[in-house]
Symmetry: C2
Subunit: 250 residues, 2 copies
Amino acid sequence: MSAGKLSVVGLGPGDARFLTPEAQAALDRAEWLYGYAPYLDRIEVRSEQRKIPSDNRVEAERAYEALAAVVEGRRVAMVSGGDPGVFAMAAAVCEQVERGPEAFRTLELEIVPGISAMLAAAAACGAPLGHDFCVISLSDNLKPWTLIERRLDAAAEVGFAMAFYNPISKARPWQLDSAFSRLRERLPAATPVVFARAVGRVDQRLRVSSLHEASGEWADMATLVIVGSPATRVIERPGRPPLVYTPRRA
Amino acid sequence: MSAGKLSVVGLGPGDARFLTPEAQAALDRAEWLYGYAPYLDRIEVRSEQRKIPSDNRVEAERAYEALAAVVEGRRVAMVSGGDPGVFAMAAAVCEQVERGPEAFRTLELEIVPGISAMLAAAAACGAPLGHDFCVISLSDNLKPWTLIERRLDAAAEVGFAMAFYNPISKARPWQLDSAFSRLRERLPAATPVVFARAVGRVDQRLRVSSLHEASGEWADMATLVIVGSPATRVIERPGRPPLVYTPRRA
């Protein structure tokens, strides 16, 4: 029974080029692999390993099941896109460790970091998160929209660049445009805005715009949105895409 | 001459276990490798590759030299600890691309992301950055301390967890304690504080404390400090170190 262990593993933004050796080793050691189905699809496993896919929005149940399997002695990997610690499975697992049976608090748990979407998106366009910044989920499923508004206002007022996770979905179609509208009252119209879709995958798409022009129509569930600070700059380059960066004196 | 290329490469937090295949490939392709000496020391190179180490605080000069070498046709890697986009070399390179000669804006530039210290530190203790958070450099070398204070106040008021880079140094001995004092006026005394030193290295050391007790003496230049939000929780575990996490409803 004591062999059980849970590894919460960050796969990075997409392609295996961004999977660390530490994460690969954790996947290799696992008997059972839990995760949101599209993330599990990215992984090649040996015939004796078992994938247990689940839908999104069932993070709590998935975490509980994985922990219960560890208590039964299994070596389990819980996979997460990007980094498991940023709006992903590590917090969901910790919640179940806290709420669940005592055995959940004695088992072996490791969290293996990964390249988060914001880092991959920033690298793809320059260094927009090169100085003080904040990271906000625009989903109001688990917190009130008014709290998100207060965070947007505060970030604009003190000059944080911003990375938005969960900017839009079919069930949340208006939040991103509402955020842009609110920021337009507090930030210069020329503030750079980056839409980075499917970064680190073959269908990666990057769009550099301004707060004045930015539209929620340019984002979907696979998009990471970065809004610059008033200090963020765009460098036009002949024959190459523009570079976006926030200077170190910001 | 057209073969020149600059890759700004994130090495991750320390051990090669956290170096991505993409970053390793970029290092392998380089003829000349620039960087802060301790980061270059981590890398094994082939006999025909050349390391060009420099001191810290000379980021602008290092970036300029590397770009100039690319203009001369060299394949160059600029290495950065952690992620190059977070308080590291990517912004310094972009600054020189903008300010330097026209040739700097036509050359080939790629930025390869890495596991940043905050992600490694968070993974080592749970998921303290599991919901909205901000990332602040406590160095007032390049910005006024009053601006840092405004950012700390705003972050506390709207409930961001916080990751502090550059928390302390011999030349900046009081800033971290000053930040803790300021936050004590705005956050609960029990707010979790994590000191993560040398994460991802063999001498990694982790200390979980509270805002009430936190002391700048527990940090040095190699420490990443995380201050929770009012929602951040500590889970005590029998026989294991505590877990720190910020719930998804925060």
